[in-house]
């Protein structure tokens, strides 16, 4: 038995393919050479979040951190966990150009820098090896992530790129070291020159390039990564869009990338940055609280024309989304990426 699946994108494009009663929608899409954003393929990361408009389906197991009971009741699904029972019409929260129709093979890269930049936070810099077709080029959209794989193991994790697409093969990442994290353990013993495999970029957490609205970026810890990429590109391209960035950390010791942010403010005169320390341990004179608190204050003082971009732990994303919705911001103008500890 097979069913017709229709994906409708934010820019009103449609993709159709068939899916059997034994496949997930994500698997069927890939079988049809369509690659909607994905990562874990196990219902944990939320990268393939979508909304089913019509049709019946079942959902395999998933994390309720990325798909709440309320969201499920409203038709939200994860493409990697959705098995059709009828034809399905699915709305995806990104544009058609976020669904590539081919995917590059993983590429090898060497670690060229691995520096502690804040408490339990490292900056990983990779240098790609030249590819016969692409040279050193690595094309991605600021805001996207890649999966990094330790060769010869099954160890693989997704991280947002923190720099802009370039022609030199340089890839930068901000990574929070998790106490029980296997990739974190790998990084703590990794050495310069060690190889990693870099999978093709994915993800739909990218700027809405057709919007002229002011932007509000809310980053939780290393959720700053995609925003650094977006802001660096804006600076390189001379696109000085009014932007407010809130960076949330637990303590002062976790504050990162202050020099980079200051440099960006030199280039982007309409960029405002506020660092939010939740539990300061010194005489911190800046904002005390979470970025959700800061966003609440901000939206009380500004009108609701902002586009909201959220990146960080699920709780931060959920809290900030609620604040934005309460402030009258349309759901379609709230873009989010959840970081799931692993």
């Amino acid at each position: 038995m097979s069913y017709k699946i229709t994906l409708s994108t934010r820019d009103k494009q449609q993709f159709e393919f068939t899916c059997t009663a034994e496949q997930t929608v994500q698997e069927a899409a890939e079988a049809a050479s369509l690659y909607p954003p994905f990562s874990c393929k196990s219902g944990i990361c939320g990268a393939c979040l979508a909304t089913c408009k019509t049709g019946k389906y079942s959902l395999a197991s998933y994390s309720d951190e990325v798909l709440s009971a309320e969201a499920v009741a409203q038709g939200d699904i994860l493409l990697c966990r959705t098995i059709p029972k009828t034809d399905l019409h699915i709305s995806v929260p990104y544009t058609a150009d976020n669904i590539p129709q081919h995917i590059h093979k993983p590429r090898t890269a060497q670690i060229i820098a691995l520096d502690n930049i804040a408490e339990r936070t490292v900056k990983l810099v990779l240098q790609l090896e030249a590819d016969s077709e692409l040279g050193l080029a690595f094309d991605f959209e600021p805001g996207q992530f890649v999966e990094l794989e330790v060769p010869g193991t099954k160890l693989m994790r997704a991280y947002s790129l923190a720099n802009t697409p370039n022609w030199d093969g340089r890839l930068e990442f901000l990574i929070r070291l998790q106490e029980q994290g296997q990739f974190s353990a790998f990084l703590q013993q990794a050495v310069i020159g060690q190889s990693l495999l870099v999978h093709a970029p994915s993800g739909a957490f990218v700027l809405n390039k057709q919007s002229a609205n002011p932007r509000c970026f809310i980053a939780g810890g290393t959720g700053l990564s995609p925003f650094l990429a977006m802001l660096q590109r804006a600076a390189e391209w001379g696109e000085d869009h009014p932007t407010q960035l809130f960076l949330g950390v637990n303590t002062e010791a976790e504050i990162m990338c202050q020099a980079e942010l200051a440099a960006l403010q030199q280039s982007l005169s309409h960029l405002a940055v506020q660092i939010c320390v939740w539990k300061p341990v010194t005489d911190w004179s800046g904002f005390i609280g979470t970025p959700v608190d800061a966003l609440r204050n901000y939206l009380q003082q500004h009108n609701s024309t902002q586009d909201i971009y959220l990146c960080g732990p699920p709780r931060l994303v959920a809290g900030a989304s609620e604040i934005a919705l309460d402030a009258g911001i349309d759901k379609a103008r709230i873009y989010s990426e959840r970081f799931v500890a692993s």
Binding site: A212, N213, T305
Partner: protein
């Protein structure tokens, strides 16, 4: 959204024009289309005050230049970026306010009563994108359809689209230092006329022809700017096969961008290839003097998806026609000047270093291909330098007829008409061509008539000025009217530059033009009747039959 400014606009029994879908045939989304309408509306407001100020002896260079640039961004296949238009609308309002102050100060100083302007001159643009979109209904091209009817809407549209083409050509001249106050005055006066929402068909037709006259001045100024900066076009062979080495492709019309890129890549080992309407660059002595202006790649604009994907280097798009960049080359295509696409990198101030960086990182061509060339450079200087030979050929009967087969290319199947016209033209006839329409036949071997090539590539679409000069010189030599020459014009149109050229030809009183592949959607049956009656304008038929009729009428 409602837009029917280009040849490929949606046609249906329910009415022509893009509007029912969220996106136009060209790829322009409804938001961007609406914002473009608002920008045009705001520019009319500038023009209203600029016209009054000019009458009092006051002008403003910044506002003049902004009008050209702003209108150029709204041509088909130029700029698709909604945020860009939001900022341009605010800029337009600032220019309008400045022109208002300039006018009112001058009027008070000179003791005049202040004019009470309405409409665009008093419009206050909203500050947010969402609010602007709500305002867009008041600036839609067809907003008065129910009250003035489709004929008036069409005549207004033809004039506006002609002015867009005029502005684009004037902008090309402007960046090369070519300016004329009469041009700015004419454009602004015409825009101010449109701002008054005219509804008299006779007045609109007359104003359309005036736009044609303004465009003649513009094309003359652009011709002078091109030849003044780069020398007069000379017949030359342009290579159309690759050469081993790193490569950059330059498309569009802007010779200034090409020149600056050639300077910045001098002695770098990077070869520069022209594309589309850049092909005539190979005929200009000062551009040709750069040894790394190596050749031409590809064909007309509508084939860019396949051609750009296959090109082993970055691509620079300097003007129309840009279509949605495919993922295969989205990261290595750059825009300049009025051009833009969301997420595609834009080059400001001729700093092409990012383009050069990409060229160095990419493989380029790995080997030389067998050399193939086409001949370009038969502008008015080259043709008129052998005028005696041409006139003798006509008088002896060796040259029976001239066909001007040129204009835009496009994807419509009906454009094969122009290939068939060129192929079936008798061997005792000369074909003059210009624009990117030539790509449908220019690689073919047409031979010569007593040493005069049967295919004469006059240049870009704006080199219609050259064609007009050549026709005028022949008419003088034969002591006849241009319409009495053994000359037929098969003009292919696609976008608004072609509308400007068409209006110029009509303004000169040229009759019997074949216009295709389809007639503009904004020319209603009633307006077409007028054009047929006054100018004997013709729709394309079957190539063989149209050729036969043309030759028969000339006999």
């Amino acid at each position: 959204m409602f837009c029917y400014q280009c040849e490929q606009t949606t046609r249906s029994d329910n009415g022509d024009g893009c509007g029912t879908a969220n996106i136009g045939v060209c790829g322009k989304d409804a938001t961007t289309s609406d914002l473009q309408d608002l920008l045009v509306y705001a520019i009319k407001g500038i023009a209203q005050y600029a016209t009054l100020a000019r009458e009092l002896g006051q002008t403003d260079k910044e506002a003049d230049a902004f009008i050209l640039y702003g209108l150029f961004t709204t041509l088909t296949n130029v700029n698709f970026s909604a945020p860009k238009f939001v900022s341009l609308i605010q800029e337009a309002a600032a220019h309008r306010d400045r022109m208002q102050a300039l006018y009112e100060t001058a009027a008070k100083e000179q003791g005049h009563t202040l004019a009470n302007l309405q409409g665009a001159a008093t419009w206050k643009p909203a500050t947010t994108q969402a609010a602007l979109q709500i305002q867009a209904a008041s600036a839609a091209i067809d907003k008065d359809l129910d009250t003035v009817g489709a004929d008036i809407i069409g005549l207004r549209a033809m004039m506006l689209y002609g002015l867009k083409g005029v502005a684009a050509y004037a902008y090309h001249a402007y960046v090369l230092g070519g300016e004329d106050e009469a041009i700015y005055a004419g454009i602004e006066k015409s825009l101010a006329f449109l701002a008054g929402e005219p509804s008299d068909a006779g007045a609109l037709l007359k104003a359309n022809l005036e736009v044609g006259h303004i465009n003649l001045k513009v094309m003359e100024t652009l011709d002078a700017a091109n030849t003044g900066n780069f020398g007069a076009q000379e017949p030359a062979a342009a290579r159309i096969s690759p050469v081993k080495g790193k490569a950059i492709l330059v498309s569009g019309h802007d010779l200034k961008d090409l020149y600056e890129l050639l300077e910045q890549t001098r002695d770098s080992g990077i070869n520069i290839y022209t594309h589309g309407e850049m092909l005539p660059a190979h005929a200009y002595p000062k551009l040709r003097a750069f040894p790394h202006l190596i050749g031409n790649y590809g064909s007309a604009w509508q084939n860019q998806h396949a051609e750009f994907a296959a090109f082993p280097g970055p691509i620079l798009m300097t003007s129309n026609c840009l279509i949605e960049p495919a993922p295969a080359y989205r990261s290595r295509i750059f825009t300049a000047g009025p051009v833009g696409w969301p997420g595609v990198r834009h080059i400001e101030n001729h700093d092409f270093s990012p383009v050069i960086q990409v060229a160095k990182a990419m493989p380029g061509y790995q080997e030389d291909a067998e050399e193939k060339t086409v001949t370009v450079g038969f502008g008015r200087h080259a043709v008129l330098s052998v005028a005696d030979k041409v006139i003798a050929g006509v008088k002896s009967g060796a040259i029976r007829h001239f066909f001007l087969v040129g204009g835009c290319d496009g994807a419509a199947p009906g454009r094969n008409y122009y290939t068939e016209i060129a192929e079936q033209t008798p061997k005792d006839c000369v074909i003059m061509t210009l624009g990117c329409g030539k790509y449908r036949f220019h690689e073919q071997e047409f031979g010569d008539i007593d040493g005069i090539p049967r295919l004469l590539d006059i240049g870009q679409c704006n080199d219609a000025y050259s064609a007009i000069q050549i026709a005028g010189a022949l008419a003088n030599a034969f002591e006849c009217d241009v319409n009495e020459l053994p000359l037929s014009m098969m003009i292919s149109w696609f976008e608004q530059k072609a509308v400007a050229v068409l209006l110029s030809l009509l303004a000169l009183g040229i009759k019997g033009i074949h216009l295709g592949p389809t007639l503009p959607a904004f020319i209603t049956p009633a307006v077409l009747d007028i054009l047929v009656e006054e100018f004997a304008i013709k729709a394309n038929g079957i190539a063989r039959d149209d050729l036969a009729v043309a030759l028969q009428q000339a006999a």
